[in-house]
């Protein structure tokens, strides 16, 4: 087996890209593949929900999850920290709700209050601000716990 090829196929499975895990597992693994697929999406949706709590209250959970799903599909995470995963979610929301000024203002509030996003500032400063808001509080980043279960819309 080529580990690199398997891992690329697994990433493809998680992100709904064409390709197949069938070369690497048998039919009994389908339930497990579903668990990983679900956990990947739920974790990112939870992360967005925590960062954009007020937007979620305004939209309601179902609409928020649909928006989160659109964002996750368009922007799979790259870095080792989820601290910056909310970057650009305001643009996803603007695309889905082009005429909704309330959504626009809520979606920008997590970055602007109370310390303000440091426009053009040093990366570290920005990271600190984000760390305080996301990594320190309110919830720790814990991908080693599994995520149950299964209600994110596909």
């Amino acid at each position: 087996m080529s580990l690199a090829a398997m891992q690329r196929d697994f990433a493809g499975w998680l992100t709904d890209r064409p390709g197949s895990m069938a070369a690497w597992v048998d039919g009994a693994a389908q339930a497990g593949l579903d668990v990983y697929h679900n956990a990947y999406h739920m974790r990112l949706a939870d992360c967005l929900h925590e960062m954009f709590e007020k937007t979620a209250l305004w939209l309601g959970d179902e609409a928020f999850m649909t928006a989160a799903r659109a964002h996750i599909d368009g922007r799979p995470p790259h870095g080792w920290t989820l601290g910056v995963y909310g970057d650009g979610f305001d643009r996803t929301l603007a695309r889905l709700y082009p005429d909704d000024r309330e959504v626009e203002s809520w979606s920008k509030s997590w970055m602007t209050a109370p310390t303000g996003r440091i426009a053009g500032g040093a990366d570290e400063m920005l990271l600190n601000t984000i760390a305080e808001r996301i990594l320190g509080l309110p919830q720790d980043h814990r991908p080693d716990k599994g995520v149950a279960f299964n209600d994110i819309p596909r």
Binding site: M1, S2, L3, A4, M6, Q7, R8, F10, A11, L14, T15, W24, V25, D26, A29, A31, G32, L33, D34, V35, Y36, A39, Y40, R43, L44, P76, P77, H78, G79, W80, T81, L82, G83, E124, L127, N128, T129, A131, E132, L135, G136, L137, P138, Q139, D140, H141, R142, P143, D144, K145, G146, V147, A148, F149, N150
Partner: protein, 280 residues
């Protein structure tokens, strides 16, 4: 490389979680050590680091990582390693641990602990990555057995055989998660006692305890409930085999008041001491 130079620390701790920050900062919680998620503190300065510094003044700290991705076919992320090394130098932790899994490939990061096939190819790669990490960190690591939800058709050895070879080749030690053994055993239909008998007991330096949930088709390692009876039973068996090692309880969802977790930790103490008395 054979023997691991990591000293044993035969004590009982808890994970540091945000709802308990105040408890840990304003009182001396009766724990012998505190485990923190490395990535939450791998950013210089700021409130998280300030909190960690205050905790460190009161307790020994274990650094538990979730994003090293020692199973990545791509190799390790050097910038990540450099940040972790800075944190390790700052904290002077009891242990530095991460998981037998992969999280990252070709620039994509799943933020989940994804399963590895247990093959010679994966073993070579994992060992090379661990050796590189230990080289940068200038200390041996603890590697934790994951909960898994599928197995690969290419598997040519069991997880415990993989762990044995990995420890022998790299000098790393083990963080044995008893709940993960139980969850994987149920999901894949092996006997958890066979697993316990198969791991190199003299390499275990820390034990994790946690709760899980029944998913639609599998047990899921959710860390959202008290440690259940079968996991306590397995812990007693683990104590019998590995002797006195650091034990801690992982609770990450539906987090109860600290007092409840301290009561669970007393249960762990009682089980471990019972075993130590029997051994004496």
């Amino acid at each position: 490389m054979t023997a691991t130079p990591i000293a044993s620390f035969d004590r009982f701790g808890l994970g540091l979680r945000t709802p308990h920050y105040q408890d840990f900062l304003t009182s001396t919680a009766p724990v012998d050590f505190v485990e923190v998620i490395s990535e939450n503190f791998m950013i210089d300065g700021g409130r998280p680091r300030h909190i960690l510094d205050q905790i460190r003044e009161r307790h020994p700290v274990a650094l538990h990582g979730v994003s090293m991705s020692i199973g990545s076919a791509d190799g390790l992320d050097r910038a990540y390693l450099a940040r972790l090394k800075t944190l390790v130098d700052h904290v002077d932790p009891l242990f530095v641990s991460d998981h037998l899994c992969w999280t990252r490939i070709a620039g994509f990061n799943a933020h989940d602990l994804l399963p590895l096939p247990y093959t010679e190819e994966a073993l070579d790669l994992v060992c090379a990555n661990i050796l590189q990490a230990q080289d940068v960190l200038e200390r041996p690591m603890l590697i934790e057995n994951p909960s898994t939800y599928l197995q690969f058709t290419a598997d040519s050895m069991t997880e415990w055989q993989f762990l044995n070879a990995m420890c022998a080749r790299t000098g790393c030690a083990l963080l044995l998660d008893v709940n993960n053994i139980y969850v994987s055993a149920i999901n894949h239909g092996f006997d958890p006692m066979t697993y316990l008998d198969g791991v190199p007991a003299d390499r275990v330096r820390q034990i994790h305890l946690a709760g899980h949930s029944q998913g639609r088709d599998c047990l899921i390692d959710t860390h959202d409930q008290p440690v259940p009876p079968p996991v306590w039973a397995l812990y007693a068996e683990a104590c019998r085999r590995v002797g006195p090692v650091a034990t801690m309880i992982e609770r990450d969802d539906d987090i109860p008041p600290l007092a409840d977790l301290l009561a669970e930790l007393d249960m762990a103490r009682a089980i471990a001491t019972m075993d130590r008395r029997r051994a004496a």
